[in-house]
Symmetry: C2
Amino acid sequence: MESRQFVRFLLLFLGIVTLLVITWINLPYAPSNATEIFDCNSFSSWCTSKNRFQPKKIINPLKQLTKSTRHFASHTPQHPLDPLTIQEINHVRTILSSHPLFKFSSPYAFHSVSLEEPDKPLVLNWKRGDSLLPRKASVIARVNNKSYVLTVDLSTEQVTLHSRVPLSGYPTMTVEDMTSSTWAPLANATFNRTILERGVDLKDLACLPISLGWFGKAEENRRLIKVQCYSMKDTANFYMRPIEGLTVLLDMDTKQVVEISDKGRTIPIPKADNTDYRFSAQELHKQMNLINPISIEQPKGPSFVIEDEHMVKWANWEFHLKPDARAGVIVSRARVKDPNTGEVRNVMYKGFSSELFVPYMDPTDAWYFKTYMDAGEYGFGLQSMPLDPLNDCPRNAYYMDGVFAAADGTPYVRSNMVCVFERYAGDIGWRHSESPITGMEIREVRPKVTLVVRMAASVANYDYIVDWEFQTDGLIRIKVGLSGILMVKGTPYENMNQVGEQENLFGTLLSENVIGVIHDHYITFYLDMDIDDSDNSFVKVNIQRQDTAPGKSPRASYLKAKRNVAKTEKDAQIKLKLYDPAEFHVINPTKKTRVGNPVGYKVVPGGTAASLLDLEDPPQKRGAFTNNQIWVTPYNRSEEWAGGLFVYQSQGEDTLAVWSDRDRPIENKDIVVWYTLGFHHVPCQEDFPIMPTVSSSFDLKPVNFFESNPILRIPPNLEKDLPVCKPTASS
Amino acid sequence: MESRQFVRFLLLFLGIVTLLVITWINLPYAPSNATEIFDCNSFSSWCTSKNRFQPKKIINPLKQLTKSTRHFASHTPQHPLDPLTIQEINHVRTILSSHPLFKFSSPYAFHSVSLEEPDKPLVLNWKRGDSLLPRKASVIARVNNKSYVLTVDLSTEQVTLHSRVPLSGYPTMTVEDMTSSTWAPLANATFNRTILERGVDLKDLACLPISLGWFGKAEENRRLIKVQCYSMKDTANFYMRPIEGLTVLLDMDTKQVVEISDKGRTIPIPKADNTDYRFSAQELHKQMNLINPISIEQPKGPSFVIEDEHMVKWANWEFHLKPDARAGVIVSRARVKDPNTGEVRNVMYKGFSSELFVPYMDPTDAWYFKTYMDAGEYGFGLQSMPLDPLNDCPRNAYYMDGVFAAADGTPYVRSNMVCVFERYAGDIGWRHSESPITGMEIREVRPKVTLVVRMAASVANYDYIVDWEFQTDGLIRIKVGLSGILMVKGTPYENMNQVGEQENLFGTLLSENVIGVIHDHYITFYLDMDIDDSDNSFVKVNIQRQDTAPGKSPRASYLKAKRNVAKTEKDAQIKLKLYDPAEFHVINPTKKTRVGNPVGYKVVPGGTAASLLDLEDPPQKRGAFTNNQIWVTPYNRSEEWAGGLFVYQSQGEDTLAVWSDRDRPIENKDIVVWYTLGFHHVPCQEDFPIMPTVSSSFDLKPVNFFESNPILRIPPNLEKDLPVCKPTASS
């Protein structure tokens, strides 16, 4: 080493030492000895939390039995679409444990263990009372850091390893991946020191595992995650106290810290004041009692039954309902009774929320990668927590549990994950009064009662409430409500008067030092419509202005409905336009009503938002299923997940957009309709510290499906049928 | 007379006689003597209907007293905005009867007698307990076929005749105009003969008065109406049995038939089968009982009070509510309590449905003119019938009556015209569960309970259900539901296989010989927003894509919210675009939140439709208020009716579009926002014979109006507060 180089090295070394000493002296909390910094357990309640995901504690079916009257231990599937039972998941685990892939390898983890549904024609032909179709499990596993897709036949115990695995991306994280990622940084001294430097006690630390998308080489060939942290001192709502600008890049497989980025040293952690939303945390004198007790009451009980645990039968509807780790809930075999013929007619073979896309609108270091795909990355069902009786669903609700597999393959029960209830909201099914003009004494009104299936996924901060609402008039409304807590950004600003005219906050100043960052939400639904039969066509009914010929009419213009049958997929890539309106019909081209209209259902878009990102922007390539609001593809059992089977770090080569661009024929075929609900969310102060629910919905609505109004013959409400109620003695 | 002319005359005369004889012989129903044909009373139940509008029967307040516990006879106004009472309307009539204009003239008719609201600053300064502001009536009358606008001061008995009367158009029809028009054609022998020729007994005839719009000279300088008729044989739903193509043009003032057009002789009258929708008309074995009894119950009673008959106070809201003959209902002085300060803050000074526009999309002779403007032509309130308890509104509803004036000025009561009820639909106000990621044991959920104000107008066939829904989080949802009966067209076709590929039906074949004609519905709301104070600004918050500079971020693009304050009216003429999204804020530019955001409310558009007609088409000129979805005008007390004060036969020179094009300044002014809800309606068979309700809504939503979530501190539901219910003994 030359002397010059040595001097440089010495100066650098002394500089580093000086910096370290200064840092050390200025530590707001100086631990008594250095090793303790690294001992997560002694300092962070976060990594020792008793309530952490611990499937082993709840998987013992016998133990479960004492807690639950729904006999999971003895439950056997009754319907070909019934989800895997506890016994079946245990069986899968046993079979695989002796399979060479797992027997001789470690580590391994199961990322998904779910029913491999039998082929559609088999299910369509199956009738209650028939013997059950062969049961198979579809398993997605990581073994020695490689992803595998397998089929396990539960009767033959045969295991099939599928060779066609997506080119890029990784399976949905396991809950163990997510939780362990949040405490892994605590094993890193630099990280801990940084936290202390920010004035946060390790015991007050809360961290979140943030999927990082894909932006190029840096996110390839390695399963990564970014971790960001919060202070939970003095509040349960740690989300409002970000340690801004601090991002830990972690190898998800090794749990090694790859990189720590800290660009937020000058940004204070927002105060805890007014952030806690729990009722117990409100000062007594500030609690507000605005409303007298109110409830939906059914004196003679509900009008629905749930047959064999999963088949819901209500009014003129029946459908199969199951919780799903990735989709949340899956509604299958939705059929409605025709009042004219008594026939129970097919409407939808399968429907579920296929993928979400939630891009945040801040291109800076700690935010640009926040472009969540909640179903494929986190598991929309995995994140669906038990519903709160009387508050999440009304008193008259029935609850359904989910059964999922932990990373080691052991089954566990997510209780009360889905609720089913009848809803009467004071709405009107149909009505007519004769007006004063005719003076006829007619006033015929029918109340509207519907059946709602609900789940609520809490993907960390955000809560998504998904409702499937069935109406007696044949309409299905699919509604998504957003509540929960904003993902916020720390800022030095305490008031907008400190912010320059040209400065971009990327959101709204919600409270002192807190910015609610602008973001979008897209939820794409898979809707395998089978109108009376599987082969259907998609018809765009364009509503177009026609000009009258001069002198032919006092009118200059009128609107005409022009039917355009989509021949191939590209004909059915639809961007909604207010000034180029259309109806979107799924029809059975071989079946007509008495007067000759093709029977059908239409997709009725609700208030929606479109993604405006650059189509070549990496997040938009991965979320390309939001490039249109409606798509139609030919049924293909491998095309269920709009963002691809392996969404995590995917590069967008397995999305709905890619499939649809193959432009396959869709006329008079078994087709799947995809609809995307969208929200632009510019936060406002009312969203702080927890957001009032915002909802949006779309409808599947019969259009010449019935010969006439299917609820013509339902009776009105009569006083004598309504209950007699009194307050409870205790109140 | 020259001999050649005489021969011509003779031939013509003989020809007419021959035609008359042939017609006579071919009459399907030959009355015993000729005079009976012209005697409406003996042949048509229509013109003798006992339930026809007969205000004299119900105006006697003493008689009313025996029927109602709401003491109309003794009711006195308590609030400056309270509607005119029975006594006041009688007083107006007495005052005017001695006024020279009415004393020495006849005929005359009152088309509107309503409160002339005091000037806004006076109302804003008025407090309960203050003496009532001087009461005035605004009267629109027709005297000797001229329209007058008058103000009657009820304290001084002074009458002011306003000289500024709209250039074109006529006042809203009186109910007497409408009803008398329906039987007037029966005095015409040709008409009666035509009806008989169509195979309809006069006793089965039902006719409707159809506003004819304006298309040029033919509809000027004369008050006209078109009458079309139906057979009510074997069904109460005569709307489904049109005598197609027959249109009687009537002079509304003289009741003279001006012209009879009959271009539908070859079109059969559709059969009555399956058209009756009344429950009593359904065969017993076909009645469907799908649902067990269900109701919304409040064991401790409602949470609202209605003070002084019109001031509704519920939860954190209060507002003044009144029925109105033209608008239906008017909501005024809507104010919400701030949970932080306890202050009751102004939100909206006045809101109501200002006008409707319902163009049908058929340019042929019997249909082109059907371009209804239901509020200004028919009176949206006048057509609002008593609501059906338990079916139009839930059991826990309170009902409010309307008091209107008949054509002769006598007051009458429209009972149960508006209902107010609390609604619990099983929805969620806000929620958060901690996810399995954090494992924290948190599950906080608050149910959503709202207050609904409802009316239902039956404008002949169609039923419009209008809901104003108030939420505790500060949101107001305005929802319009469409039900009732389609306006249909007769056709020779019985099946679509008879219809040529190129043929235009102008709608959908709904049943044999019945076409549901395509049409639009637009409902334009007047929203005088006063955010904390009257002077507000309108801000368009454009959500725009920003591209990042190369190398600055892994992201190529993101969205930014850009605030653009509207300076003048044209800045606020807004057409909604999915791919050019924006939020629409009404802010108080002089008032900011603690962290410096201007306080505001935003208009959140719901699923909507835009009018696509040619802007120069006469109906679109009259309905030009639908040219944009949002408009903002400076407050002007004469600009309340979006289609003009005198809409009937108007030429469109007094519309919102004309006012807005004056491009007045609107920044930091008292401003009025106008929002139009739209529906394209392509009928389908499910709409036959009566339509399941279709709804659309928009929201007024606080945006940085509150410092934080205003319902943070409300409690969850607890089992102990809910009622104990049992079926009634009788059921």
